[in-house]
Amino acid sequence: MTAEIRTSDGELLSVKLKKVERRRRTTAFLLAAPLLFFIVFAYVIPIFQMLGRSIDNAEMNSFLTETHEVMQTWDGSEMPGEDVTSTFYYELKTAVENKYHGKIATRLNYEKGGFTSLIKKTSRKLKNFDENANFLDQFIDVHKKWGDIEYWQALKRGTDAYHFRKYLTTFDYEQKFDGSIERIPEKLRINVTLWLRTIFVAVGVTFCCFILAYPISHLLSVLPTRYSNLLMICVLLPFWTSLLVRTSSWMVLLQKQGVLNDTLVSLGFVADESRLELMYNMTGTFIAMTQILLPFMVLPLYSVMKTISPSLMRAATSMGATPFHAFRKIYFPLTYAGISAGSILVFVLAIGYYITPALVGGAKGILISNRIAYHMQQSLDWSLATAMATVLLIAVLVVYWLYNKIVGIDNMRLG
């Protein structure tokens, strides 16, 4: 039996120690708590709520609850019976009285084109309906589209409380009314192109940044401090300069009548009538993004290279390695940490880029973020926008998780 060690106030030492540690844990947590709660409530929860919009259809479901319930027994193989049509009639009547039939029309139009005019026309004629006669016939009398079973199928589908169809749209697939999943017609396939282009640009920009950053980070790390500090300005000044300033400088340079083309023409490399198309395409997006993201690669690489002792390379060469061999076997592996930190940072920033592609990229150089913004602000198809956002977010979080595994979030450094 071990002797019981007690503190001066007579408590067991182990108990006292636990108390102190618990108090310290609480203090530490309480310090982080205000920001944690702020970020969780003002940021994390709103993101999940927004992403919920991609599958949420509760509002529509609440407008036509009973129709939706009655339609559950209808298998959709033949025209709906009077139970469905009469319920729909009464619920549409309520909708017209409370003036939300416009919302129903807009929402159903996403399921099948032509619903906007169909609902509007039907709503106007609703007061002429004879509530004792056959409803389906009267619907068809108002508009012949009600005789098309697909509109009833769309109505059934459009009133589900939630759905996952926007995720199919995100990858250019659609669900037919018979439940089969098919790719959409080729000329409408835009989203997959954008996803592939986004990945291509993100990977390409990361790779270019790596290729360009490696030599200069090395130079910065081996030069005496007073020279490297001066050269560091070339990296830090763009880093601290507004993104829009840097984007506009690329617009000035890359335009058809821009500085770069002017210079090439005046030097005689390019004829005046065949000026290079550097902007409003992928080239522009690519060049501008590489320059803008380059500092994010240089800084982590530099901070790692700074810690590598030059004597390691000297030792390798003195033992007979050629400079190239010594670099490949000794120096390069030592910079892995910096390479992964920089690459992941650049990749994550590039995959969600919005401003530069929108200004420099034109129609051919936009990325998935621009498409999300388009659906958020212009087409107002929020469920599609949020479905795309969810996919993008998952991609980013996977990379973020990798970053955490490889580099560790505590080791993130800025400037």
Binding site: T27, I39, M376
Partner: protein, 287 residues
């Protein structure tokens, strides 16, 4: 970087081509910024180097676009600048206070779920701005704060805190705990120790974090596109530039950009001074 005399020819060639490559990359990084500055003094309305400018004739240069920026009625740069400074000022205070306090907790050895909490706190920096922007907009709209001054400040605080957390935690990670223990053993209360010992030592980190938060807010464009909701009285410099750039590249924008480059140069100088001071007081020689 001089090569020893005995260096073989092929290594000499390799060495000089390496220096040429490095120079090219440095030019690629910095040159685009310097193209803007002379163009902002252009006397003409077009964004290119006129023959007069290339010949350095004085009449080819003018300050008319700076006059247009300050007195021009078409572009409300005045309101934009005032708003930008206000948003940046208030969100910097919010982000710095919240971020510094959180960083103090996070650097403690006893912090529970450190990795997880840190990841959550850093997430606004990692998650694409388009997602942050729309999510913050929807939540602010629900509270009736969209397109209001407090709403924009809240949005910018969210975006600024990760930078403060990162810089202050980095400063604290090099912090020698024995100093505070020495203070306590000499009879100092924890509060006294914090204000007399810890705070002065981590001040450079806090200021540099605050600078990051300031610049983040001052340059922020994606989130404000959603949150400001097109209200002209809430516009900021980046928002105004964005609108301008979408229509046409005007020399006035070049003038504004030049002012912003001057501002970033100032920030760069301040951060450099801070870094040196931080190294000095922590006993790391500046070489």
């Amino acid at each position: 970087m001089a090569l020893p005399k005995y260096t073989e020819m092929r290594y000499r060639v390799w060495h000089y081509s390496y220096l040429v490559i490095c120079t090219a990359v440095f030019v690629f990084l910095i040159a685009p910024l310097f193209v803007i500055i002379p163009l902002s003094f252009n006397a003409e309305q077009y964004i290119h180097f006129s023959d007069g400018m290339l010949a350095l004739q004085p009449e080819a240069f003018s300050l008319r676009w700076y006059e247009d920026m300050i007195y021009g009625t078409k572009n409300p740069w005045g309101i934009a600048a005032r708003n930008s400074v206000y948003y940046a000022f208030f969100s910097t205070i919010g982000a710095t206070v919240l971020g510094t306090v959180a960083a103090l907790g996070l650097s403690s050895r006893y912090m529970p779920y450190k990795q997880l909490i840190m990841s959550v706190l850093i997430s606004p920096m990692i998650i694409p701005l388009i997602i942050s922007g729309s999510a913050i907009f929807f939540s602010l709209a629900k509270l009736g704060l969209a397109a209001t001054f407090p709403g924009i400040v809240i949005a910018h605080i969210i975006l600024g805190t990760p930078f403060v957390v990162i810089t202050v935690t980095a400063t604290l990670s090099g912090f020698d705990d024995s100093i505070t223990r020495a203070a306590s053993s000499l009879g100092s209360t924890p509060t006294n120790t914090f204000f007399k010992i810890t705070l002065p030592l981590i001040t450079p980190g806090i200021i540099s974090g605050a600078l990051f938060a300031f610049v983040t807010s001052f340059d922020e464009i994606v989130v404000i596109l959603f949150v400001a909701g097109g209200d002209r009285n809430l516009t900021t410099i980046p928002l105004q530039m964005w609108t301008g750039l979408r229509e046409q590249l005007s020399p006035t924008i070049m003038a504004v950009a030049t002012c912003l480059i001057v501002l970033s140069t100032l920030i760069l100088i301040v951060t450099e001074l801070l870094r040196r001071r931080s190294e000095r007081i922590r006993g790391i020689s500046a070489q």
